[in-house]
């Protein structure tokens, strides 16, 4: 299989994730966008690992770490969403998160 295929799939997924982060208003959907970006990175790592075929499998190991990190992030992220919901009564975040407050 050409190496470029998974790379391009990953590029498309990453872009979809970026769109999700920027365009979605509900915090949980923003989280889904972030997860999509991380999944794209995982695919890249797996593809490169298969291509290099080096014995220490750096790519697959790092993807494993990424999946675990993503799980940790999502756990914390959901807790913040709940705190936000309790404090404000909504889980919608304003346009771009960074622009939210000065």
């Amino acid at each position: 299989m050409p190496l470029a295929w998974p790379l391009i799939l990953s590029a498309v997924l990453f872009g979809i994730g970026v769109y999700g982060v920027l365009a979605r208003r509900h915090a949980v959907l923003v989280l889904i966008g972030v997860e999509m970006m991380l999944a794209a990175v995982t695919l890249d790592l797996v593809a490169f690992d298969a291509w290099w075929g080096e014995p220490s499998h750096s790519g697959q190991v790092l993807s494993l770490f990424v999946i675990a990190l993503a799980a940790a992030e999502i756990g914390l992220g959901l807790a913040i969403v709940l705190a936000l919901y309790r404090a404000t009564g909504t889980a919608d975040v304003d346009d771009v998160p960074a622009r939210e407050r000065r």
């Binding site: 994730g17 982060v21 970006m37 991380l38 080096e54 750096s58 790519g59 992030e73 913040i80």
Partner: protein
């Protein structure tokens, strides 16, 4: 491959954090004393381990001491929050220490996997720390903003790392240095991979353009946590960059150097302009800490050999001391007089001569102005590599930008100094509103006066600080 003696310090810190959490959870009454003392002891133990003479690499050692020492002072300064019911002491100390152990392992990392995992260990608990003021809208918003920016920047770094792995087939710094330049992929692709990796780390440092999380997050967080973010978190990110850039990406300088230089210049200008219009002390310190990150970044633009790497770290050390003093004083004021506006510090020198003078000294250090000679020397140290003719001074323009931003910084810092030494405002004239017991105030005051004394001593004899960072 792993030198396990390196891991002792982060292990001690993390272990102390877990112990603090358990002691607090199983104690009958929630008290700062129990978890606070455990954290204090663990951090002191880690300092002892780090300072033991057997450790070889001076730069890593210095960064480690910066991270642990900074956390130690934050733990002491946080004592002032005793009896603040929305702040659970066990969780606070646990998260602080675990995050600090992340900062430590980030500095010790010799491969990209360890780097990125440590980065998350530094970030995730500090995000939780920001949101820890329970039931507070600002805290939740600050935490969310911080979270999204942090996670996205991690994703970008990971993307960069994936491509770096793709072109080189390894994640280990020493091998990267050899394999990146021998890569079969075009140089542009290698450069892009390196830049993506660096950009993610720049976000973490609070560099422009992704700096906008800083003010909201600092103001949403409690003051000691803001101090932690501005000092320890930054030290971790800057330390990782300083080790990563020359060690792993040393031969790819043409790709990342302009990025770092432009980011440094923008960070300086935007941070200073933001600070200029603030009328809240925490807001001012938040924006100015963005600008200060620019000073740390600037010399990285000419980072070639590990020898030059000392400039950002030396600056960072001075900045850390001064910023911890400033945030420590503001934390005290907020707890005792209930706010952080300019009016809350008007005439502080006359009400609290010692802490007030410490704040003045810290602000002058951040501005880089005598009598705080150490602040001036720090600016010198940052400018020096940019103007070194050995590198042909391609970044003399950056040196001019840095110099002019010293001026802008001086004006707003001095404006605050004038308020602090001016007539006593109505806020300070009133009685304190603090529920903090006197003992906690004494501890927090110590956490201010010790680094302030260090600033005085190093102003007289800057070599005490400089020679210690190789």
């Amino acid at each position: 491959m792993i030198d396990w003696s390196d891991v002792v310090a982060p292990l001690v810190v993390a272990g102390g954090g877990i112990l603090a959490l358990l002691l607090d959870a199983f104690g009958t009454r929630r008290s700062w004393r129990r978890s606070g003392i455990v954290s204090f002891l663990a951090l002191v133990a880690a300092l002892v381990v780090l300072l033991s003479p057997s450790r070889p690499d001076g730069l890593q050692q210095a960064l480690g001491v910066l991270v642990v020492g900074g956390t130690l002072l934050v733990v002491l300064a946080a004592a002032v929050m005793e009896h603040e019911d929305s702040m659970p002491p066990g969780e606070l100390h646990f998260l602080l220490l675990v995050s600090a152990s992340g900062g430590l392992s980030m500095v010790l990392a010799r491969d990209l996997a360890t780097l990125v995992v440590s980065l998350e260990l530094l970030s995730l608990p500090s995000i939780a720390l920001v949101g820890l003021r329970r039931g507070d809208v600002d805290a939740a918003r600050g935490a969310w903003t911080f979270f999204v920016v942090s996670v996205v920047s991690t994703a970008v770094t990971l993307l960069g790392i994936a491509f770096v792995y793709g072109v080189s087939g390894t994640l280990v710094y020493d091998e990267l240095a050899l394999r990146l330049s021998a890569s079969r992929a075009p140089a542009e692709v290698v450069g892009a991979a390196v830049v993506l990796t660096v950009v993610g780390l720049l976000f973490k440092l609070g560099a422009v353009p992704l700096h906008l999380w800083v003010p909201g997050t600092y103001r949403g967080a409690s003051v000691p946590v803001a101090a932690y973010l501005s000092v320890v978190s930054k030290a971790g990110a800057a330390g990782a960059l300083v080790l990563l850039l020359p060690d792993a990406f040393g031969l790819q300088g043409e790709s990342w150097r302009p990025v770092v230089a432009v980011a440094a210049a923008l960070t300086l200008v935007v941070g200073n302009l933001g600070a200029w219009v603030q009328d809240d002390v925490v807001g001012l310190l938040a924006w100015s800490s963005i600008a200060q990150a620019g000073f740390v970044l600037a010399p990285m633009a000419v980072l070639t050999t590990p020898g030059v790497a000392s400039a950002p770290i030396r600056y960072l050390a001075v900045y850390a001391l001064a910023n911890l003093v400033a945030f420590g004083v503001v934390g005290l004021v907020r707890r005792r007089w209930g706010g952080t506006s300019m009016a809350h510090v008007a005439g502080l020198v006359r009400v609290e001569p010692w802490t007030g003078s410490a704040l003045v000294l810290a602000l002058l250090t951040l501005a880089g102005f005598p009598p705080a000679v150490i602040g001036l020397v720090a600016k010198y140290v940052v400018l020096e590599p940019l103007l070194d003719p050995r590198f042909g001074t391609p970044y003399a323009w950056l040196a001019v930008v840095v110099a002019l931003n010293v001026v802008v910084g001086l004006v707003y810092y001095l404006r605050l100094v004038a308020v602090v030494v001016g007539p006593v405002g109505p806020r300070l004239a009133g009685s304190t509103v603090s529920p903090s017991p006197p003992r906690a105030v004494v501890v927090a005051r110590t956490a201010v006066l010790v680094p302030a004394a260090a600033l005085v001593v190093t102003s007289v004899q800057p070599d005490l600080l400089l020679s210690w960072i190789p």
